[in-house]
Each structure stands twice: as C-alpha cells, then as structure tokens.
C-alpha cells in the first residue's frame, strides 16, 4: 500500500489489492497483532450496520479501540457544523478516520483537512473501496481473480459498491458484464474509467443471455426510491430478481454475491444452494478491514508514518 488515504478503488493497483488480501488471509487464519495504542474514529453521517460494525470489530480484534461520532442527530453536525470542521476535530482524537457520508466526494474533501489516514466507507453514489476489497477477497476465495467472467446486476447507476468493484476488476483478467434497466446503466464517469483501462466490458438489459457464462454474479438492490414513478419501478424490479429456478441455467460453480442488505432481489431459496456466498462475503469484511487498518496504521506503504 502506498497511500495515505483510501478514497477510491481507482487508487488500488493489483499489487495493493494482493497485499491487502494476503494479509487478510493471515488474519482469517488466526494471526493476531496488538495495536493497543491505536484509535479509529468512526464518522458515519449515514446509517450503516455491516460496514460500521465490521470496522469496529476489525479495530478491536487488532487490539485497538474506536471512538464514534454517533448519529448525525446527536452530533454537532445537527448544529450546522461543516464536514471539514467535524473531521478536523475527530482527527485530533484518532489515528485514522473512517467516513461514510451521503455526498459524493466527501472522503476526498475530508482527506484534505486532516493529517491522519481517511478511509472512504461510502460517499453517496460514489465509491465504497473497502467493500470492494472484501468483494475481491470473496471472489478470489471462490473463483480466483484471473480469467473469470463476472456479471454485475441491479442498480448500476447509483450503486457505489458497483462503481468501486468495476474499476478494481480492471486490474485483473476479468470479463465484465453489466445487467440493468436502461435507466440505471453505469454512470458516464465509470464507463469512461473502464474504457480508459481497456476493460473487457459488455452491457445488457437481460440476465438470461449471459448467465450461463458467468463465474460470479454480483447482485445489487434496485432502489425503489430512485424511480420517479412507482409503476416504472415495478415493471423492472421483477426482471432483476433471481431465485433457485433462475440459477438452473447457471454453471454449477457460479458464485452469487450481494453487498447486502437485500430486499427481494435474491429469493430465500437461493440461500440453500451452493451458489449463495453473500453471508460469507459479509463476514469477510472483518479480516479484510483488519488487514487494511493494520497496513495503513503500520505505515507499510512507505508514506512515512
């Protein structure tokens, strides 16, 4: 790792990813370190369950501790404090900050105001690079990270986990297929990055045609709140729902992933199949975030800390 901050998956080279995933595997195998003096600041301006808890768990499993800003309603943000001021204050208490915020670019801005590492835990519809690291860890465990075909389906326009994952996969030998309603295609800036990276990319509105080719199917929620018209949502939502019958057409070793929470895009009967990997994926958040925190707090990136 050669970064002071982790803001976007675009920062991550193949070598960076492999360093984090290898370290995560060591933690997964039971390695322990004692970062007793390290404190992680948790600044969540949006509700979060998995991401916040897994960062909290990861830091505590490393032997360190966390300080939590609390909810927006109970913080000085409610009084109108700027993000720049909030992070400057919390950075005075902690050795690194984890930031989730509803606005795109929030983590980038925060990184310009503090001297400690900032980790982007989701900025609006922008990026979610630590989710991507645990996604890559899960893919590597189940399918390998080279010479594979990955389908990413659902809300590709606003899904920050999709944006980060798509960009990170360009570092590997991966054929990427994007499946969504026309109105929820990948945003222009992500398509630009994929094109610039020379990625092997195809876009579809229908899963059936591509499903048999996939090694990995990454499903995201079609977000009802994004549609101006409820009927328009109903028309497309059902088409992007998978169940055990849908997967009859898939390869036996297809890995089905989802960043969670799911609503109804993956039927419960998929849970009973060998394809279901989303709960394992969620659990991988802890070793991967342990690895990332350990590397960033150790200053192993040659950044001088």
């Amino acid at each position: 790792m050669r970064h002071d901050h982790l803001i976007s998956a675009r920062q991550l080279s193949r070598g960076d990813v492999e360093t984090v995933l290898d370290r995560a595997a060591e933690f997964d195998a039971g390695e322990r370190v004692a970062r007793d003096d390290d404190l992680l600041g948790l600044c969540f301006f949006e509700p979060s369950t998995r991401t916040k808890m897994s960062f909290d768990t990861a830091m505590k499993r490393l032997g360190g501790d966390t300080v939590d800003m609390g909810t927006v309603e109970s913080s000085s943000v409610k009084k109108g404090e700027s993000l720049a001021d909030t992070v400057r204050v919390v950075a005075g208490y902690a050795d690194a900050l984890v930031l989730r915020h509803p606005s795109e670019g929030a983590a980038k801005l925060a990184s310009e105001f503090v001297d400690v590492p900032v980790i982007n835990a989701g900025d609006g519809a922008g990026q979610h690079p630590t989710q991507t690291l645990l996604d890559l860890y899960t893919i590597r465990e189940n399918a390998g990270l080279d010479d594979i075909t990955v389908g990413i389906m659902g809300d590709l326009k606003y899904g920050r986990t999709v944006h980060s994952l798509a960009e990170a996969l360009t570092e590997f030998d991966v054929r990427q297929h994007f499946i969504s309603p026309e109105s929820l295609r990948l945003p222009r800036n992500v398509r630009y990055d994929l094109h610039e990276a020379g990625a092997d990319v195809r876009e579809h509105t229908d899963l059936a045609g591509i499903l048999p080719e996939l090694d990995v199917l990454y499903v995201t929620r079609i977000q009802r709140e994004r549609f101006p018209d409820e009927n328009e949502y109903r028309e497309v939502a059902g088409e992007y729902r998978i169940d055990a019958d849908t997967l009859d057409a898939a390869r036996e070793d297809l890995t089905v992933m989802h960043p969670l929470p799911r609503v109804d895009e993956i039927a419960p009967d998929v849970d009973e199949t060998d394809h279901a990997t989303y709960f394992e994926q969620a659990h991988n958040g802890v070793p991967v975030r342990m690895a990332l925190l350990d590397l960033m707090l150790s200053g192993d990136g040659g950044d001088g800390r």
Partner: protein, 155 residues
C-alpha cells in the same frame, strides 16, 4: 484576405486584450467566461464566423481596458483551445501567446452534480482535472464534456 486583415475588420483597441482564433460560434461563451455582459460598461468588439486561414471560420473578441488573468486564460482554453491571446498597450501588441490546457482548473467551474460535496458550502474551491476531451470533478469524479460555459461558477 488574411487573418490579420480580418482582425482589422473590427476596430483596433488602445489597451486591452484581443482573443483571436476562437472556434466559430464560441465568442459569446468566451464573453460569459470573462463575465462580460455589457453591464459593466466595457468596450467590446466581437467578430463571429469570419474567414480564417487556420480554422476556416473563427470568432474574435476584443476587450478594451482589460488584460486577462492566467485563470481566465486557463478556462478559455477549455472552450477555445486554438485561441491566441494578444495583450495590447498603446495600440501595440506587447504579448502574444496561445492558450495551453492546464492540468487542473480551480474555482472556475461549478460541479453540476448537485450531490457533490464541493457544492455543499464546505470551505473548498471547486477543482476539475482537465482530460483530453472533458474535465472531471476532483471531488465526485463527475465528467463534463459539453457546454462548459454553462458551468462557470458564479458567486
């Protein structure tokens, strides 16, 4: 008729700036970038769609009593990449330069993404990375390709 002859079709200026070789049709956007709408009393001459040896057709803008700042030249380069800037003092061209595309423009364009943190009242200036055929917000990554003049930041 040469470019120099065309330049003379609009009146010479005493002191100020002649922006030549603007892509045809972009003169009004250049004026928008310079925040010139006539209300400030500036003396402005505009030539549009005049023949050009280099561009085929071009626009020319002459602004009396004003020399462009480097920041203004930076952003001009985004919509008029072939433009030449002539600084005139006492009827003589004392500096002649072509615009060059900067790597970054700061504080000039406003991000059109209404959910971008740079538009949320935080203590930062907008910042855009200049790409070959677009500019990209340094905060939210939004790409801007068309109609950059419409996104010039206003106080």
């Amino acid at each position: 008729m040469t470019d120099a002859d065309q330049e003379l079709r609009v009146s010479k200026i005493v002191n100020g700036t002649v922006i030549d070789h603007i892509a045809a049709g972009q003169a009004l956007n250049v004026l928008a970038i310079l925040d010139i709408d006539g209300s400030g009393g500036e003396e402005v001459s505009v030539g549009m769609n005049v023949p050009s040896d280099r561009l085929g057709r071009k626009d020319i803008v002459k602004v009396e009593g004003r020399e462009l700042s480097p920041a203004e030249v930076d952003v001009l380069s985004l919509i008029a990449p072939a433009a030449t800037i002539n600084i005139v003092r006492d009827y003589d061209v004392v500096e002649k330069s072509r615009v060059t595309r900067p790597e970054v423009v700061t504080g000039i364009l406003s991000c059109p993404n209404t959910n971008c943190i740079s538009t949320a009242g935080e203590p930062v200036e907008s910042r855009f990375e200049v790409l070959d055929d677009a500019v990209r917000c340094g905060y939210c990554d939004e790409l801007l390709r068309e109609d950059l003049a419409a996104h010039i930041a206003t106080d």
